[in-house]
Symmetry: C2
Subunit: 458 residues, 2 copies
């Protein structure tokens, strides 16, 4: 059902030429980073204030018109596809850092601020925002997908780093959740409810985020292993020993090869661990030394580390580009990116089985991940012209989901549900999924906020 | 409205003589630790299994009968008072540790396990459960109040340490939330919703908890200050410097005096900080040294620390008994325990103003708290025979609430809402409080689970 003309008229009254119906805008906001077919909205709104967002939602609510939030569009499960049309609310123009409180180590931002922009702005304060999904996502999008990434092993996910929110609800009410106090026992944790809700309960218009002090010393390093088993074993032992790793990332041989080709690096084509330590100079040295011993115990190659910022930046830039490096490894490919997360004791089993499965498959699938959390991805490379490829990718992904659940884990460690994981919610949650639906209906009885996502449909 | 006879008959069929109507049992479960008038339930149930709990709730739901959970009864805001009668579900007999997973550093427990029992059981594993409210509370109660305590500054609150739950809902359905994976982006954070819900959304029948490795080295110490200002300033600087304190507790001069009288200690009657460091031997020494420098910069007394377990245990036992020491400081007194929490930059202002307020009041009120979180309590000592005392305590408490909100904080850092803070929910949360009510009605439309608490009444 297309958006009624009176909705567009009313929205134009609020937004003027910041309501777009241009084909290029609709196309852009109907695409995703991965394999999902496009699903464009009927209009794209570029609000600048919370009041405008509330106005948009009220107009849409009055006419039963869907509302879909849009941050940076980097989510991997087709989260922001307008599968029932409606109005896409793009937060690109709500991109101001509203207040930095260095003495309390928190910051108040609009949802369209990206994590790189935020950290640029914070640089002079000696503080940083740690959650790092690699992509330059928006903070509103990151909160909405409960994003994490390379640093979650040390600093937690968005669940742990959002102190409070301002949210526009499905009926246009504007609420605030949380305070600037570090903890509270004052009622239901609404902040936690909206974090990870994928825009299905309301639109986030402001976030208060915890910050971290830039560590006195940082060192990073990388080492190769002859096989996956010992690499993963190293991770498990490191975590169990309680070494406070800031990052501990795994890439398999295929990923190393792809990164070499893409970034001109020269990693041996073997499984690697890439790690980072944060702390005092002695603390960091102590950690690196202990880690090196674990690597040696597991027969890993020389563990080389450096405290030099340029080398570190080069390392993490390569890691962050690994997704694109993998995509480039198969010409014209698109990807189905899997995202399983298991208890750390099951990590070796999970990675090994997945590796074997992909080795026997008809498509390539480099593996990499935030293994300190028990979380990893296979980037299943699909020729978009070949339907057999996508079927094969879905088969492999389905088996990874089975494996995750069998091993006591979750079907998505960090990417979220979107379109791609909806079919697994009943299996992961059982009757608890119905409870999610009951909450959704209570807060959005008309099913207007990002409809078609997260809860049971129909 | 008393519980109908057929409810009691049906419950007896499930529980046999584990359904109690003895006066002593009703009295015991109608009392609270603080100043609230008693409100006994009509019956007390002692289930042993989740199925029994579900059976109890189904019977009650069929007859519109209230159900109130009971852990250790140590909550401070009258949380578990059966203000509308009904059935109290005491989890004392669901007190087994179901599974310890040392390799994943998690544990599965029944809700009646107390934190001391859990840590006794874990001792041999080299792991511990860090959340420490002082009182020997039950894990189910601690989750339900989103408890924290002395170690939250390092290890977080119950919000951060519960991986998953089993919950019996208001209609008797049994759901599971979360998995044993360390993170997940699979839908709404139901675990987070039930943590802190004070039993108003369902009864927790099982918890999966994160554990921590026992630190290689622990040291603890104490130091006196001539005034509150420099003590609090020391805390602020310590937190801002990012020293990973395991505990940083404040007690004022009145508390020190009470502890001396109660525990035979000999603290100077001055404000004190009590601290603990966890880490490697060098790390702990480094932290203690830096902390000592901050103390000296702020004109504090000699900072004495020790790595000896007995001295440490003595220190924390005194701290944990401080509440009872304060109570004993005024003969026959009961207490109104306040619980404000503010951004750390406002802590000095908050403590100083509160101190001045109490100094001018007609009742004593020692101050102590988990100042690393910006959280502190005044233990307002009330003669239960003197209604003027309670009125004075409520006036002081009310002013602390005003202060907390004015300074950007919360009306309760860790104790929760219960009966005592219900009147402040609208002010702290505005329309977000209505959203809590909408969630409550969605999950408990008959208002049977701990009625009269947390959400707007009537
Ligand atoms: C190369 C690459 C690497 C990645 N690595 C990681 C990783 O390591 N870890 C990780 O967690 N993710 C990763 N991702 C996925 C992605 O970056 C995250 O999902 C991110 O959180 C999405 O943020 P976004 O701003 O792009 O949101 P979008 O994609 O624009 O939106 C995501 C969802 O949030 C909703 N939304 C957006 N803004 C709001 C708002 N203000 N209010 C309410 N709802 C809103 C949308 O409707 C949609 O449902 C990666 C992606 C890429 C392309
Ligand atoms: C001396 C002293 C010091 C304290 N210090 C602290 C402190 O530092 N930090 C802190 O946070 N608290 C502190 N408290 C308060 C108290 O210990 C906490 O609130 C604790 O979490 C209560 O746990 P409990 O098992 O006693 O719960 P109870 O008091 O029995 O119940 C608390 C609430 O939870 C509900 N409930 C209990 N079990 C369940 C269940 N299984 N399912 C659903 N609902 C349930 C009850 O209905 C009630 O609403 C202190 C108390 C005392 C007496």
């Amino acid at each position: 059902m297309p958006v009624p003309a009176e909705v567009l008229t009313a929205l134009e009254k609020i937004l003027g030429d910041r309501l777009s119906r241009s084909k290029s805008d609709l196309d852009l906001h109907g695409r995703s980073e991965t394999y999902f077919p496009p699903a464009p909205p009927d209009a794209v709104a570029y609000p600048e204030t919370t009041e405008e967002v509330a106005g948009i939602v009220r107009v849409c609510a009055a006419h039963g018109c869907p509302v879909v939030g849009w941050g940076a569009g980097t989510s991997l499960e087709g989260h922001a596809l307008a599968v029932r049309g409606g109005v896409c609310v793009d937060f690109a123009r709500m991109n101001r850092v509203l207040a930095v409180h260095p003495e309390d180590m928190d910051v108040v931002v609009q949802p369209g601020v990206t994590r790189e922009a935020l950290n640029r702005e914070l640089r002079a304060t000696g503080l940083f925002f740690p959650v790092d999904p690699g992509a330059n996502a928006s903070l509103g999008g990151m909160a909405s997908t409960r994003a994490s990434g390379t640093t979650a092993v040390r600093y937690g996910t968005m669940r742990d780093n959002v102190l409070g929110l301002e949210v526009v609800l499905a009926d246009g009410r504007v609420i605030r959740t949380g305070t600037r106090a570090r903890k509270s026992a004052a009622g239901y944790d609404l902040t936690g409810l909206f974090v990870g809700a994928e825009g299905t309960l309301g639109l986030i218009t402001e976030l208060t985020l915890k910050l971290q002090g830039q560590p006195e010393a940082i060192s990073a390093g990388v080492c190769a292993f002859d096989a996956i088993g010992p690499a993963v074993e190293t991770v498990i032992q490191t975590i169990q020993l309680g070494i406070p790793m800031a990052r501990i990332e795994f890439v398999d041989a295929a990923t190393a090869a792809a990164v070499n080709a893409y970034s001109g690096a020269s990693f041996p084509e073997k499984p690697h661990l890439m790690v980072e330590f944060h702390g005092s100079p002695t603390g960091v040295a102590e950690q690196a030394e202990t880690f090196g011993e674990i690597v040696a115990d597991n027969g890993g190659g020389r563990f080389e580390w450096s405290a030099r910022a340029e080398e570190r930046t080069a390392l993490w830039t390569m890691r962050h580009n690994a997704y694109y490096a993998c995509l480039a490894a198969r010409k014209g490919a698109t990807a189905l990116v899997t995202d399983m997360c298991v208890p750390i004791s099951k990590l070796a089993e999970a990675v090994e089985e997945t590796r074997a499965d992909i080795a026997a498959a008809t498509i390539p699938g480099p593996i990499l991940g935030h293994v300190g959390d028990g979380n990893f991805h296979a980037i299943l490379l699909v020729d978009p012209q070949n339907p057999m490829d996508l079927a094969e990718a879905k088969r492999l992904s389905h088996r990874m989901v089975d494996r995750a659940l069998r091993l006591g884990g979750t079907v998505t460690g960090e990417h979220g549900i979107g379109m791609g994981k909806l079919g697994y919610m009943a299996r992961e949650h059982g009757d608890a999924w119905d409870v999610m639906g009951e909450i959704k209906r209570a807060l959005d009885p008309q099913d207007l906020m990002n409809p078609g996502k997260l809860v049971r449909q129909g």
